[in-house]
Amino acid sequence: MRAPAPTRPQWPRRPVDPNRGGLPWVLPAVLVVLGVVGWPLVVAVRESLFQSSLVVPDDRTFVGIETVASVFSSSTWWSAVAVTLALVVVAVALQLVLAAAFATALRRLTHGTRWLQVLLLVPFATLAVVTAVTWRDGLTAGFAPAWFGYDVDSRSASMAAVVAAEVWRGTGITTVILLAGLARVPSSLREAAVADGATAWQRVWRVTRPAAAPAIAVAVVYRSLDALRALEAPLMADAAAPRTVSTLVWDTTFETFEVGLGAALSLGLLLLAVLVGVALAVTSRMRRTL
């Protein structure tokens, strides 16, 4: 009888992580994003170094960072930045106030909340260009001048139409986001605050606001950046209305076909969006953990 072969000592095996190897699942999406974003970004940087126009394709001169520098030293750019930021502040503030009121009201309802939320999403689902046209007509030539008898050619009416289109479009979705945030506030917490003798204002500021803070942060950042990139309503506004950065980029690239200047303006708008986004995300402590 043969003696059993000596078994080799085995190191204890590491338990296999069932969640390992996620990279191949993500890689195709990353590569496509790199293609559709990286490629145009490289082209934008390259084109911003040239003075070129699609109208005269052969007339292409290397100017270095002169175009970019001229954008940042131009009063047109800074005026457009000021108008854009004013639009963002006014539109987002109005949206937040209205959405907070609507969300608080919906939170108290016991029936029909879901259908009302569906109704609230209809303005957001309406084509932005249609919203822009109807609000422009309504406030500059339609029902509003007929009701209140103001000058239809006024510049403020055009700006009001841009803000109204933006506010109407975004209030519903902001309400839905804030309502989900309010649902996070435990009723026991509110009842405890009432039992402790907190006033209505203290309950809103010290109980509801902190608990709903993640939703408020998402709403502020998302709506601000959406207002910052709004194109349809400012584009549809009266010619007398001040231009936003988005319309400046659009006009330069697709109306006068100045590719180099358009690319420089595009880079400027991207930088502005990043700065606004980072500032808002940091100050509102936005987080969305995976």
Binding site: N19, G22, W25, V26, F102, V129, V133, W168, F254
Partner: protein
């Protein structure tokens, strides 16, 4: 919590004063048939005030601040839709009253009959369907990995996704058209695909992450523990737990991509290859008299949107509302 009597009386008083003010403006300032719209709103507000006073000291759990808020919400949401309908049914110069005076269905017929807009609708649908299909194929595995698997730099990838979701598309429109011209790929119907993908892919990934996060993964673990094969896992876990949510995500992504103006307006090869929003933008810029057709097209666009919203209201509200944790 039952509102206090004082809170109800304040709400009732506010509703009544607001209704009184609206009625006064309606009677003294607003001309024509729109006066009745104002009066209707005023009557509803004043009735709310009266009912609020009557029910202030009862045990009913109704909050009149909530009722007032919902009434204002309905007014601010529905009246602009009424105005869109009025514009859509008043061909020619813009109407000057919110209530439609002479309803004409011609613009709706014009939208459906006009070759240009019908072709635009088909182009929009084709481009959006292609972009949605590609985006979902890429986004579903990516979101699964982001939620359930170990991915190096996961948080950074997610941050890039969020940035792309809110990035101004117009900044990449010009460079993309130059890039397509560089390689001789401009001027085709699918030239809008790269920018459309930029709308569709981040949105599909963002919404799919919400679906993946909400899925009951413990059920999959249980199915696996019971020795289920891959096919059984798909049939008994993925199909019921993930497929409905992902189907709604695909619907939302399709509609958002088809409704995007920038890609179609910036990269369309010509009038025949324009998407619907691009055609409407052009129509509104070139001929103010065509605004009724623009509004009519907008209302027709709402038909598929409403179908999706009414088919899956709970899922859509969840997808859009639960964008934070």
């Amino acid at each position: 919590m039952r509102p206090t009597v004082r809170s109800r009386l304040w709400a009732a008083g506010t509703a009544f004063v607001l209704g009184f003010a609206v009625a006064n403006v309606g009677v003294l300032v607003v001309p024509g048939v729109d006066r009745w719209v104002w009066l209707a709103v005023a009557i509803v507000l004043m009735i709310t005030g009266a009912v609020g006073v009557l029910l202030a000291d009862t045990a009913r759990p109704v909050s009149f601040w909530a009722v007032l808020g919902v009434e204002l919400m309905l007014v601010l949401t529905v009246l602009p839709l009424l105005w869109t309908f009025t514009v859509a049914t008043s061909p020619g110069d813009p109407p000057t009253s919110m209530w439609p005076r002479a309803v004409s269905w011609e613009p709706f017929g014009g939208v459906l009959a006009a070759d240009g807009l019908r072709t635009s609708m088909l182009t929009s649908a084709a481009v959006a369907a292609a972009a949605t299909a590609i985006a979902m194929l890429l986004a579903v595995p990516a979101s699964y990995a982001l939620v359930r698997r170990r991915v190096p730099g996961r948080r950074w990838l997610y941050l890039v996704l969020v940035i792309l979701l809110v990035a101004p598309l117009v900044t990449l429109a010009g460079p993309t058209s130059v890039a397509l011209l560089d390689v001789g790929m401009a001027g085709r119907w699918w030239s809008t695909l790269p920018l459309s993908l930029l709308v569709a892919l981040p949105l599909a990934s963002w919404l799919s992450v919400t679906v993946m996060r909400a899925a009951p993964w413990h059920l999959r673990d249980a199915v696996r523990a019971d020795g289920a094969t891959r096919r059984q896992e798909l049939r008994h876990f993925a199909a019921p737990a993930l497929a409905p949510g992902l189907l709604v995500v695909a619907g939302v992504v399709f509609l958002v991509t088809a409704g995007d103006t920038v890609a179609g307006a910036a990269l369309a090869a010509g009038p025949d290859a324009q998407t619907l929003p691009a055609s409407l933008l052009l129509a509104a810029q070139t001929s103010p008299a065509g605004n009724s057709e623009v509004a009519a097209a907008g209302l027709l666009w709402l038909v598929p949107v409403l179908v999706l919203l009414l088919l899956a209201p709970r899922r859509i509200v969840h997808l859009i509302g639960r964008t934070h944790r």
